[in-house]
């Protein structure tokens, strides 16, 4: 399961059925859970003094696609999945089933909850705090320096179920509250209230997320998205979401 060209340090702790692709490097200060799979041309557990000796820990079932770099000093829950050419620096603590799309750049010292999904080319800066079920779409940047360059880093906070659409920027120190939606190509300069849509540069309030309708002819609300979208989430979660919203259990082909 370990390709003969891969370089795996003798100190690395590998679970059962771990796979390491061609031309990949696994450093010593790494713990890979059972069934982890590392693609080709990766560097896992890149040493850094800033990690202060803490290991890189990937929970069971991680899939790291090719050309990705993970530093030592971060911890990921079960089921991490990445795209290609991803970079993750030290000091990140993430829950279960995080997805980081191709070209993702996680600068480290972040807290990330469970079931969070980043699409391609997202940049998450130091001191970012992300709740559960958050979505970041392509080319989103979460900034952290209010008057660059400075030593005063103020991370962004995204609460549970926040979605930030493509090419949007959230400014340093901003909190986007539970269930809020940031429209595409926006600049978020003020805190966003729960279940609220904002859009533009600077982003302005459009109204409640519930007012957005699915463009599938059904007239159903598009938010909260867990009413209609469940791809890739565990069955028990999806069942709880169905219960939360009562109806739709039978009608909704997406949940069959």
């Amino acid at each position: 399961m370990i390709h003969p060209t891969a370089l795996v340090a003798s100190g690395a702790r590998l679970g059962r059925d771990v796979r390491i692709g061609p031309f990949s490097i696994v450093h010593a200060n790494v713990e890979l859970g059972d069934r982890c799979e590392i693609g080709s041309h990766c560097e896992i557990g890149h040493p850094t003094a800033r990690a202060e000796g803490r290991p890189l820990v990937l929970g069971p079932g991680a899939l790291i696609r090719s050309h990705s770099v993970f530093y030592e000093g971060s911890t990921f829950g079960p089921g991490l999945v990445t795209g290609h050419q991803v970079t993750v620096r030290e000091g990140t603590i993430a829950g279960e089933r995080l997805q980081i799309g191709t070209l993702g750049d996680v600068q480290g010292t972040c807290r990330i909850g469970n079931h969070v999904r980043f699409h391609s080319n997202v940049q998450v800066n130091h001191r970012t705090t992300i709740g559960d079920f958050v979505w970041l779409f392509p080319h989103v940047v979460l900034a952290n320096d209010p008057h660059p360059p400075s030593e005063l880093l103020q991370g962004v906070t995204l609460e549970d179920f926040v979605a930030v659409a493509a090419m949007s920027l959230v400014l340093p120190g901003i909190t986007v509250k539970r269930g809020a939606l940031v429209g595409a190509h926006s600049t978020v300069t003020r805190d966003v209230e729960p279940d609220t849509v904002v859009v533009g540069s600077p982003a302005r309030v459009l109204g409640p997320t519930q007012a957005i309708r699915l463009r599938d002819g059904s007239g159903r609300p598009a938010y909260p998205w867990r009413r209609h979208f469940s791809r890739g989430y565990p069955d028990d979660l999806v069942r709880a979401w169905l219960d939360e919203f009562g109806a739709g259990r039978i009608d909704d082909p997406l949940l069959d």
Copy 2:
């Protein structure tokens, strides 16, 4: 022509004079036309169940630069050229002489015409349809989900000779019609009429593309760009463009 460190599966079908660089991987379900060149550290024909067994086919003369990843299940006409660190997923069908710049991210299930050129760090999402002679400039994103996340994917359509300038976003389901120009750092929220310039967020109509003049002191129209720009296109095409626009055959140093 195949570097001794490269890993080429015995099932891969390689044309004449194919070159494979150091530390690159070519999987079995791949057809490389004559004179294809794969740079270093690439992975070509990455397996995926979604390809349903379809091969990756690269027409003759392809040049894939280093650190790029192509999945199985896509087909490219002759003369494909990519930059470095490009990712192309399954289900893409592209014509001849496609160029994908460095860090390009083509998510797959796209249709792309002939002579299309993507500059660096372009993201083309699922279900995008691109005509012939289309240009995408740096950091352009073509979105596909009108209310993310959802299962209702609506790809962007870019007709022949469309140009989308740097850092612009085209929203899901939008059609940009033949010869239209999207100005830099715009958000296209409505369909764009042929040979029309739009700019801003949301993008507004500025006027016809023909009103834009070359800033070279000549006073000539900058669009259609094939009046004055022909770098890298085949001679017969350039001759046809000269015929189309009558004059200029002698005056235009760019075409000499």
Copy 3:
């Protein structure tokens, strides 16, 4: 110090204590100064006819992180540092201590001064001119074609101490003058006067940079940033900045 899997051409000129990581390639037409360190999976000195035989020269102490590609035909002063997955084309001449963040894309034929720092995913196009102490923050693009596509390339000029905040685009031919600040997610369509803040799309003048205060409760001006920010700069420079601004020598914990 050269990993046994690395491929180093016999013609390459390597200084003392040079380190080359696993699976990296160093071509012949390369000069690496003393103590240069090349990470894993890099390609250094990629051949190109456009370099016309000029070598790639990296001054002493360069640190090139993994998966990066440098073409032949560029010259960097001492102390170059890059992130991962960086691409630098031929014809770039840069001073000392340039930093290029992860995913940086330097297209070549640029002039870059001393102590310049690019954050992640910056794109610097052909014919850009950058002074000393310039900062580019994440996802900044410096464009060069006023009516794309065309043959009339007009590079951007950024004078000393300019800072361009995240996700901003500077249009072709624009000059941003000494000490000016481009706010986040802006589009710079006109020249910017010295020590002036601009923001928006198109960017409008907000006022003098000196009016921006540090958000640390001190009430001190945030600009010029060398009043309060000195991380990573040489001691003699920092001392000169302290002298320039007189007070603060004792109070400022950042400079201790």
